[in-house]
Symmetry: C2
Subunit: 791 residues, 2 copies
Amino acid sequence: MALGKSIRRVEAKAKVTGKVDYVMNMTMPEMLHVKLLRSTIPHGKIKNIDKRAAEEIEGVIKVVTGEDLQKLDINYYYGPAFRDQPVIAIDKVRYVGDPVAAVIAESVEIAAKAVNYIEVEYEEFEPVFQVLDAMKEDAPIVHDTIRPAGSFADLKSLLPKSGSNICLHYKLRHGDIEKGFEEADHIFEDTFTTPAAVHLPMEQHVALAYLDAEERMNIWTANQSPSFVRSEVSHVLKLPESKVRVRVPYLGGGFGTKLYVKIEALTAVLALIVKKPVKLALTMDEVFITLTKHATVFTLKTGVTNDGKIVARKCTVAWDTGAYADIGPRITQKSGFTAAGPYDIPHVQIDSYCVYTNNAPAGAFRGFGIPQLVWAYESQMDIIADKMGWDPLEFRKSQVLIEGKEHATGQIMNSIGFGEILEKIDDRLDWKTYRSTAKQPDQQNPRIRGRGMAIGLKAVLTPSISGAVVTLFADGSASVYSSTVDMGQGSDTILGQIAAEVLGLPSDKVRVVHPDTDVTPYDTITAASRSTFYMGNAIQKAAEDVKRQLFEFVSEYYEVSSEELELKDEAIFVRNEPDKKLAITEVIKKIFKMPAGSIIGRYVFESHYQSPDPETGQSDDVAIFWFAGGTAVEIEVDRETGKIDILNMVSLGDVGKAINPFQVHQQLYGAAIMQIGQALFEECKYDHGQMINASMADYKVPTFKDLPARSETIIVEDPHPEGPFGAKGVGETASFGVQPAIANALHDALGVRIKDMPLTPERVLAAIKEAEESSNSRQKVSVTNEAKGER
Amino acid sequence: MALGKSIRRVEAKAKVTGKVDYVMNMTMPEMLHVKLLRSTIPHGKIKNIDKRAAEEIEGVIKVVTGEDLQKLDINYYYGPAFRDQPVIAIDKVRYVGDPVAAVIAESVEIAAKAVNYIEVEYEEFEPVFQVLDAMKEDAPIVHDTIRPAGSFADLKSLLPKSGSNICLHYKLRHGDIEKGFEEADHIFEDTFTTPAAVHLPMEQHVALAYLDAEERMNIWTANQSPSFVRSEVSHVLKLPESKVRVRVPYLGGGFGTKLYVKIEALTAVLALIVKKPVKLALTMDEVFITLTKHATVFTLKTGVTNDGKIVARKCTVAWDTGAYADIGPRITQKSGFTAAGPYDIPHVQIDSYCVYTNNAPAGAFRGFGIPQLVWAYESQMDIIADKMGWDPLEFRKSQVLIEGKEHATGQIMNSIGFGEILEKIDDRLDWKTYRSTAKQPDQQNPRIRGRGMAIGLKAVLTPSISGAVVTLFADGSASVYSSTVDMGQGSDTILGQIAAEVLGLPSDKVRVVHPDTDVTPYDTITAASRSTFYMGNAIQKAAEDVKRQLFEFVSEYYEVSSEELELKDEAIFVRNEPDKKLAITEVIKKIFKMPAGSIIGRYVFESHYQSPDPETGQSDDVAIFWFAGGTAVEIEVDRETGKIDILNMVSLGDVGKAINPFQVHQQLYGAAIMQIGQALFEECKYDHGQMINASMADYKVPTFKDLPARSETIIVEDPHPEGPFGAKGVGETASFGVQPAIANALHDALGVRIKDMPLTPERVLAAIKEAEESSNSRQKVSVTNEAKGER
């Protein structure tokens, strides 16, 4: 009744009419406010903090520093992969923006004023800002020790010894890389870079913490992972999980920056100290330095035979995870193992390094590292195709991973729709006709058109856990209890649809209860495009648990087997016996002998998984499934200004099954346009560790003027046997290929190849100029037979 | 680990340190306040309401009358047994205090002021105040039609035709009553009465209602039955249940007055009208007229043989349910069927009448009608024993219902500890020695001592439903989701203990989540001493559902059967293999491959039940179990003042199994002392329908000075095979016998028999005087052989 319907988002009306309550708007009696003093140096030791003047200001309750917190019986460090981040700085500061002191005051204004009265004396250390510099043996060391969190035990063997900024070295060894390069006729080696970027959800990070009557720590927070916040804050405060309650109402966007603990541990500790409700709301400039997208340097060395087969690929990726690891080590590993791209390559070597620097911490960003990798490997695919005279589409098609092929991790692929994605690109961009037409640029017209494409794959987060409870009420309505955070992606809507479909209810009779760790079962995180699959599965099976209980009663009532029953249109039918049917409300009335009661279903879904070998990254079962995405664009570039306009963008994703097609289209479109900014102009700029464009005035995001003139989103459905009704997920797939598709189109238009993101007008003009200057060799790739001999 | 331990109440510290938030203290931005205008006449028609002057007062938002509400698309009437109570009066008013108009204003003070500016014109009808008058054919009719609620369908055949104030006539026919009286050698006929009384919890009725961002109706309320409020308000507002959310935080006492819908429907409708949060808090004088305890007139005709066997008993009970039925019809039936007492009587006839009058509505009151019945039948037991020269204890013992005996409903008794209760009374009151000592009153001393006893039984509410979810977290703590309202009876504590016991956890690792219909499963009500049994069962089985899932994993892990496993001390052990054990936290870590996730258990418990025959009240399975209680007292009465002092009170209850013995003792003591007030002085007094002592100044409740000098509570444990660890319940058992025990002691002391409650000094003095005047026949009971011949 509900599946595959494009019903309206359940919270849409409340949002557009301004009725939705965000944490930012919440207030409590006696609530105090917090402002943070942040480090002004990138690396150093705190010698002294003088807070006397600040504490004398009327309305200031307390100024809290690391020294104060060390007197408490708490665990001082937190973090999702490593517990390396202090609740507030102690001894050391590691980046410009590291919180050094917290002012608790009666108003935001007083707290903000008091921050200026705190004096901090530092001993400065030499900083390191570039990821390749930080990997050097003699680099300044950002963290003296590596502190992996409990949940990171599986990767302990990948940790290097302390005394290095490399905090994780992920290795994949598949086939025999040396033999692979021997077999190759051509070798290509290219290095690609991406800069740090920021997420910028509309709502800033904000948390409100208080002790309740039972002295339990309550936290309202704008966060994507309430279950994680609960367990991590319970670790910091040394409380059992049942003494910590985390609630998330509506969320004003996330994109990864609101995952794990950001300001929650600090806010909770402050509430513990003053025994009053405490609210900490970051300003937008603080959001910029709270979490960024990993800057990367990625070198690909690829061996290809004369007949167009990639036989070997060596990938070396360095991830700048900044001053604190956050989830960087997991990105280094989980995205790392896809660095060779969605291709059937017999010999693969991957080395993926997570590296501390003195930049702002980097973590999850929609795509979880995949866009950085796709940027490199799909740019190189076009470089190779171009150099060797193959059509880029055919070159990809000939070796793309499809059902039954072996991925570099050793896993056999299934439910992976690249075949259809490439066919649809061919069709929608009129690819063959276009490629066969000789392009004659009009020398009078400075605006040149080009087309490009890119595809990428991502493994879904595995292992991971989603629990759900589904309760059917006596009036035939139902509630779904899920810790999935609806942050604008529409999860409340589609999760309700899944339950409605199983229970034979119209979707408006099902309600999804918002995350509250006192209420909604454990869920790993709302991220990684995982909720439709994981939480969808949990909800489907919890609803089936309800259905089973109903069937148990009705099969006894009619003396038929459960197999003969059918649940649809709010009633249970005996197949082929039209007079035997009972409305759901009647069944409940009969079960409980009154029109009351409820039927409860529950399920905790967890994925099968085989931990990969730490030395080779090999595993039969490294991911429960894979996402396949693709992007194709037609652009127009102005040779005189270097500005790129996107005329047409086609975004494709294999979602398994679209539970709500309209929402899937929106997700595909949203992921793609978010990438346009990063492809064309977004970039965090630093001056000696100080981010110099940390404001919406200086850091530009795409506006309506930057959007493609034409846009198309295409849903590919290659159902997954274990997905809820075959569904996989969609949040990130259309983000993978945007950057290389545009760069490939730029090359198609002008013949210039840019290997550093973003494709700013300045960079495009410089590339044009360079190309003109060395008209003999437009690109610097090493495509020589000699290169092979040199090894 | 937790069972049978007298751990401290979990919320005790928060309550005594003032940290607990009651609805009364809650506030919301833009919240409006309500005051009610109530009828000043007992019976009549509203001809006109002029609200113009009131609405002109600054700060008054709106004055709402029945006329306004009739414009809305709502169901106008609500009620737990009959839907006879209007959201606010339309056309008719039925008692002094019936709400006629609601003023919504910016402050309580403005609303209270504006109420005085509303002018109402009535057409007065003849009222009826006495229950026996109301049963007469020509009595004024309070309700023109009888409107049974859906959940009352089982008793439809007991409804009389409209046009009578008798809204339910419950009949029980067991054996052959005529034959029984033939067999009897003596016949006793007595009529006993009880007045209306009030519950007076410390916290008044209060509700706060608002529409949330999703336009769902949210209600915070001081109520004992959140699940019922949800379904009834959803009926009134014509919303699916999932669009109504009811939450109860801490409750400041209930005793029955906060059951079902009281002010919630009105508050919700007002919030719907003004689209802002609306709070309605009653004042204490309004609490008096919101709900009372049923006044009753109970005539018992008992046939006894010469050898002391009661062979026939005819019971005629009239319940004054006031202007609205509330749960009166259910009391009339469910308590009605125990009217013949806990005795093995072959021939029984019961007629129990629920009767409308123009008094304030009467409903559930701790004991649910049982104390009124026990008052009568246990007084008559002593009258009979006295007249026929038997010891009251032996007389009871010889025919009390014990295991295997048949109750008048036809059900065979099991788990019913009357044997032990009577033995303990014998022991603790030194009964035999005392009775054998000739009492020689000291004529100089006006203070005379006497001893008395009484026992009573009650069927637990059947059928009824309790659902629970138990979730075990990765850190080995757990939460229990239950809609049971902790109103001071300690349910949070013992329900947590039950889950802890099953899961092998210390009880401080288990938390009970407070009722929230969005969160906690359906539960019929928190009342009727049912929560330990019903909710305890649901929680025990939900926790076993968790345990089963843990065992499933561990039995596979160790390759042993589940039967070989044991869960204790936060770990799972293989029996007789000491090296094979896993901490619970380890098991979860192994199940989910990380130290995260949760195990969810769920259970909905419902009782077996066989609906009784409407003509005879016979059923093999009318109640899943029965409560047995007893009271014995020694009193001292002052012949000159008539004042009774209680020297010693022994309260006994068969609780099956005491989960938390300290709490059980507290419950026994609390129930008993609450009855002392009603035995000695509590009574609602009316003047032409106007309650004239509706204030704490005029209506006295027991103070410390009124308490027994010595008190003892005795736990009897006759385990119930279906109870959680054998437990039954305890909230009401010690309330049953207090009134007749005192009256019987009074008779023991002075030889006077009073048949009307309460035993005020005035009434005692009058009885003494009457006894002195007719020294030949102290009492008016008809104990003649002639009486038998007259039939």
